[in-house]
């Protein structure tokens, strides 16, 4: 790895590019500002992307800030080890399609990750600027999105070369980022891959969860098309374990499975009144709006609207829900979060965008009970104040109740976004599959192989609620692991056959 990076860094053009500008000058430059829609304007539309993306000039200017470090610590912050300086330097010299190719060496969905990765905790947190200069990091995420979008818009999306077909059938279960990256890698290796999805749309959380204003569907669709061009098949409305069992699929010739069924089961707080009408999970809220288009007149699916909407939680899901509520016309859209802003797990940019859009933050506040009108529709919630105590196992300071601090807030819709548990559908169909006590599938972390040899798993079903990039990384690891496993089996069979 180190060797490879060094060889790449010593290519002529990179040496030349480095000599063009002194590091001092590079570090003097200001970080680019992402152009975005005006907050007052954008809250009128559920489907307009907030970040507009960089133009070529500002992307190249931002790229010139990167010093092409001898020891690029940024790469250590990226869960899939994208060769960050290589792609950035390609942007700086104007070879944007080359930059996109560099991204695709390791990432299946750069246009997605450039938009949704928590860069401030990953690559950008480990940039030399952050670590040593105490300056704003190189905008790695913005540049990644720029290169990927540039390629998508150029119409020159390269279909990766695929090896000769080996006619070995494998199945991916679920169609989220883990499965998509798995399918891409397996298709490249020549496998006959089918992706099975329970819903009527492909993309998992990328489609039903993350809203259009943050991740437009067309960005995902381009990637799906390119997978289709590589020969990947998609089966919608197909629940593996139900529509057909694993045994059925084996009989149909599938030789191995990659389970990436996600962490779809929403958690509730189990406090009094939580089943009143008007109180729903963020998954239900976002699915109605994103997957079922409930906010659009021509569609039949309804969605609850209200004047006062409270969203409980502080993660990406909570931010997506509360900003959706604002866009659907809430006068008062509130975040109710039991810790303080510093502990919020959401991407920093989303919190900033939410603030710009007039979202109210009731931090250090926790719901204790709900009340309803005579029709059973929620109309009031009781909350209590919290303060931060000692750090807990996760290193975050534990919130403790401030006694006697309870008060009521009028609400007509409450969205509960306090986390998800692993989808139990697949494990419940396979009693011999080893799962943890949290319901996640246990796998070998190197190969992603489960306790059932022909079954591999990755993404949220293994990690609990995690991130797109980690799910994607798992998909790639599993593809490598499964390929080894299947090739090993083939060899075994071949020797057995010749032994006869």
């Amino acid at each position: 790895m180190k060797e490879y990076l060094k060889i790449e860094r010593d290519t002529e053009w990179r040496v030349e590019l480095r000599s063009q500008l002194k590091n001092k000058e590079r570090t003097m430059r200001e970080r680019v500002v992402m152009p975005g829609l005006d907050p007052l304007e954008r809250i009128k539309y559920q489907d307009r992307e907030v970040n507009l993306g960089l133009d070529e000039a500002s992307a190249r200017a931002e790229a010139s800030r990167c010093m092409d470090c001898v020891n690029p610590t940024c790469i250590e912050g990226c869960p899939v080890s994208i060769n960050i300086p290589k792609f950035i330097k390609n942007i700086e010299r104007g070879e944007v399609l080359e930059a996109a190719k560099t991204l695709k060496e390791t990432s299946a969905l750069p246009a997605v990750c450039g938009r949704v990765c928590p860069q401030e905790k990953q690559c950008e947190a480990q940039c030399f600027y952050t670590l040593k200069l105490k300056k704003e990091p190189v905008a790695i995420g913005y540049l990644e999105r720029f290169a990927a979008d540039y390629e998508q818009n150029s119409g020159a999306v390269s279909v990766p070369e695929t090896a000769a077909k080996n006619n070995i059938k494998v199945a991916a279960i679920g169609s989220g980022p883990a499965s998509l990256s798995f399918a891409g890698d397996m298709a490249k290796l020549g496998y006959d891959v089918t992706v099975f999805e329970a819903l009527h749309e492909i993309g998992g959380v990328l489609k039903y969860g993350i809203p259009e204003f943050r991740l437009p569907n067309r960005v995902v669709d381009v990637e799906l098309e390119s997978l289709e061009n590589m020969g990947v098949k998609f089966e919608r409305n197909f629940i593996v374990g139900r529509t057909a069992s694993f045994d059925d699929l084996k009989e149909e010739g599938y030789q191995a499975f990659f389970v990436a069924s996600g962490a779809g089961l929403p958690r509730f707080m189990n406090i009094p009144g939580e089943n009143y009408n008007g109180i729903l999970s963020s998954n239900e809220y976002l699915t109605r709006v994103n997957l079922m288009h409930a906010a659009e007149k021509e569609f039949d699916t309804p969605v609850l609207r209200g004047k006062n909407i409270a969203v409980v939680g502080g993660g990406n899901t909570a931010m997506d829900s509360v900003r959706t509520a604002k866009r659907l016309g809430a006068e008062r859209a509130m975040i109710i979060y039991r810790r303080s802003r510093e502990e919020m797990p959401a991407r920093v940019e989303e919190v900033l965008h939410a603030e710009e859009e007039g979202i109210e933050f009731l931090n250090l506040t926790n719901p204790v009970e709900y009340f309803a009108d005579e029709n059973g529709r929620v109309n009031r919630m009781r909350v209590q104040k919290m303060e931060l105590g000692e750090p807990d196992a996760s290193g975050r300071r534990r919130p403790v109740v401030v006694e006697g601090s309870e008060y009521d807030i009028p609400v007509d819709v409450v969205v509960v976004a306090i986390g998800v548990s692993p989808n139990p559908l697949v494990p419940s169909e396979l009693p011999e599959l080893k799962v943890s006590r949290w319901g996640t599938i246990e796998v070998d972390p190197e190969t992603m192989q489960s306790s059932i040899p022909e079954l591999f798993a990755g993404g949220d079903i293994v990690r609990g609620g995690a991130t797109v990039i980690l799910a994607m990384g798992d998909g790639r690891k599993a593809a490598a692991g499964m390929n080894n496993y299947l090739q090993g089996k083939l060899k075994e069979q071949a020797t057995e056959a010749s032994g006869n």
Binding site: D248, G253, N283, K491, S498
Partner: protein
Amino acid sequence: MARVPPDFTKTLLFLTCQIRLKNKNSDLTMYQIVEKESFSEKVVKLVVHAPRIARARKPGHFIILRIDEQGERIPLTIAQADKNAGTITLVVQKVGVSSTRLCEMNPGDSILDLVGPLGKATHIHQAGTILACGGGVGIAPLLPIVEGFKKAGNRVVTVLAARSKDLIILEDEIRQWSDEVIIMTDDGSYGNKGLVTTGAEEVINREQIDECVAIGPAVMMKFTALLTKKYNIPTQASLNAVMVDGTGMCGACRANVGGETKFTCIDGPEFDAHKIDFDELIQRLGGYMAEEKEAWEQANG
């Protein structure tokens, strides 16, 4: 040698099977409606081409469908299935936009999306004598359960209830798998006059009942559960909660069972009727406590 796929013969076999399957139904597209029958102005039976589901389904299972791009995802019980023909039977009652649009579809039309089988299958076993109660369109999901219990060697007494004669559906099919069928109508236009509970209580007083199954509108199930609780008869009820995905992802279908929150689509749809908080269910379906009586009348429709 190594080039030959390991399960070559198996694959070949499978391929030929597939081709045969395809040829047989070559004129059918996925989820195409092959047959339609109107039971009444409000209740329609549809036979739909869905070979995988026809093969995999068991009594108690349901599907979720979406008519077209604009449609909602709505849950419907699989009333019957024919593995050989590759079809499932749905019985739909018009209650709102989607169910009405579905009832207006015709043979030859195709449903855009249809997924299943969903839910836990009914626990069919040898119990002795089963009392099966079906109200209104709840008779449709009751049919495969009655059939299952009968085939498992039980004595099955079925009480069917509806507002009036023309709303009693699937009577012949139900009779085929019941030792006795009692019909109750609100207006006395067919069978006996009265509610499902009147008929059920008569049976309970007459003979030993080991288990009861109740399917119908929430209010009907509530009162049936109250009745069987009085006589200590274990009872299953099938909840018709509001649903979106049907895979445990959204929580729209949550219900309070024995003080715990359960998801109807993956933990149910059948639960121990004596533990279900029916009032909450009715509320969550958009009904009102004060209008329970009115709803009850409707319930038999």
